[in-house]
Amino acid sequence: MSEALLSVQELRVAFHSDDGIVHAVDGISYEIGAGKTLGIVGESGSGKSVSSLTTLGLTRGSRAQIEGQMLFEGRDLITLPDDELRKIRGNDIAMIFQDPLSALHPFYRVGAQLMETIQVHRHVSKSAAKARAVELLELVGIPDPKRRVDQYPHEFSGGMRQRAMIAMALANEPKLLIADEPTTALDVTVQAQILALLADLQERLGMAIIIITHDLGVVAEIADEIAVMYAGRIVERGTTQEIFGAPQHPYTWGLLSSIPRLDSPRGEELVPISGRPPSLINRPSGCYFHPRCPYVRDAHKRVDPRLEPANGSTGHVVACLLEHAVRDRIWDGIQSGRDPEALRRMADASPSPAIPAGATPAAEESDGTDSEPSESRLVESESPAGERLPPTESPYIGPEETR
């Protein structure tokens, strides 16, 4: 798609740490069109924040290794020199951070911080900048903006601070707004206000929004498209209707059935995802999700799944080695409330050796990051699933707990 505002291709971000190389983002691709909303969902450590910080060049540093392409209006944000990038940051692309208390400077008045954002990018007088600051505070619904503009962040409540952050991000009418967990620290009532505000502003200003969150409810409310991230990769991507209506990846199923919902019958057992997210230094072999996946087969421990169209639709892509038919059957089973054991048997009942066309055996996959010779992965197919996990992984937090 040429009309995409931001097009990310095979982005990889790795950090060199004392313990080894942290593969925070491992080859993700997505696109977002002007005026659209993309939701990125994942747990902590799935690389969702790092990928968006990279958009703004905020992960640049001597220990970071960034590869891939990020085209924003035809310019590659990864290779762009710092001074060029600085003209885009806060101007064409702006960001809202999770914790408004630590993202606002406590020693400066809210107005001064807003004016700085404006004056960095535009040659306007101080009084004009201040007038604009008041206007912005009014836009985001802060009562009495003329008085509030001269107050300090500690005089604002949590919801108002988040509004001030949004005002700051909007100062230069960005084309793309990145919101990193914008409502996580807020109460539900305030969260609803902020989400309504974002949707309203998007309509009025026509900007694209990337919203990063772990809350599936939030993305269902505002996103057009959703990308589900796990261990630095996108494991499933599709429109909001596709992801919630017919999710294809076992991790997405896990996320959906591990949260209690207001619209499901009360007393329904939650089915947690067993175990915990993998270390990004020693990643599992094959499918990164296999140590936690209830439907894992031996082949999945060796073969690395690729994103491929699910059910023929080109927009909805999933990286899973189970066959389409099996996935459809399991998802139907989950929805009708079958118990986990029965679901697992469903996955086993079908013939296992078939490997979907889009997948490449791990031996051919050269991500160049694993020190182990890739052949040995194929040989050690008998090894237990948890072998490559960090030593603190407790065998007690395993599948037996999903009861």
């Binding site: 747990e43 902590s44 009562p143 919801g159 108002m160 109460d187 539900v188 009532t189 305030v190 969260q191 609803a192 206000q193 989400l195 309504a196 772990h214 809350d215 599936l216 409810g217 993305v219 269902a220 409310e221 209707q241 919630f244 209506g245 959906l256 591990s258 949260i259 209690p260 919902r261 207001l262 619209d263 499901s264 019958p265 009360r266 007393g267 329904e268 057992e269 939650l270 089915v271 947690p272 995802i273 067993s274 915990r276 997210p277 089973g333 009708s336 409330g337 079958r338 118990d339 029965a342 679901l343 048997r345 469903m346 009942a349 603190t392 407790s394 007690y396 937090i397 707990e401 009861r403």
Partner: protein, 353 residues
Amino acid sequence: MTPLIEVKDLTKHFPIKQGIIFQRQIGAVKAVDGVSFEVEHGETLGIVGETGCGKSTTARLLCRLMDPTSGTITFDGRDVGTQKGDGLKALHRDMQMVFQDPYSSLNPRKTIGSIISEPFVIHGLHSGAGERKRRVQELMDRVGLNPEHYNRYPHEFSGGQRQRIGVARAIALEPKLLVADEPVSALDVSIQAQVLNLLRELQREMGLTLIFIAHDLSVVRHMCDRVAVMYLGKIVEIASSDVLYSLPRHPYTGALLSAVPVPDPTGGKRKRELLTGDVPSPANPPRACRFHTRCPKAQEKCSQDEPLLEAKPGGSIAACHFPLTDEEIATRLPVALSRQRPAPEPATSDAST
């Protein structure tokens, strides 16, 4: 049977002081201001509300981690507020707490073994050298931790595992009451369910009474038999979960429920009832009905007469002069709520075909 806990007119005011040497009180933050409720044996009571509504203070008062300003708490026939010395120690043996932040509620310099065995040390239980270790390892096994990790330190564990340590410590003395203050809000979504299931399992096995405090309404509905909604230090509505989530009568409960995002893009197109503004300061709460400044249904009467908790149609007990009508409930609440499936289907055994 008498209830396990009876709370009557509980208040906690934190003084606001001025002056450096000669301090005088110029006001008070009314964190909890006249709260009454009862909890039966084996029941789970949920307390929900926004930040600053006094739900955590209530929890701390219940466990006597703070002294109440006035009011009484009767726990198992004992008056919590007046216990001292040995009496208080005996009381604490029967009530334990799980805290919100699994990172700051565990001493980083102590091993897991000594953290979990501390209740035994304090109460002088299982004093034999091997006996105490054996008991602790049993507890670790019980909450799903590997007993071999006895000598590890908290930083070696993930958030979910640390919360399990907190739970193990809380159930060590086999208390009658467990107060869980936002036990899962610091955890990742996939881990939350593990801890919630553990708490429910323990409750079933040990016959625990649970007071569950959270701001996430979906989690509270999942866990609790009865739910109390707090606003600015007062309970504004209390009802069984089934009633509260289908026929809420207080406009504040309605607004809270309407604000919860539902992970269903097709059912989400509902008329949102958005509250405007923020919670007023508890140091200077609005007169009469405290919610009248933000209430969509507020009328003159609301700023003059304080409404009392009373039974409303449908079975809910709410403090409101103009409770929500059935039509209002239907338009405000998530569409999904009204089309609840009746009951979870029993698992079928022919699933493998």
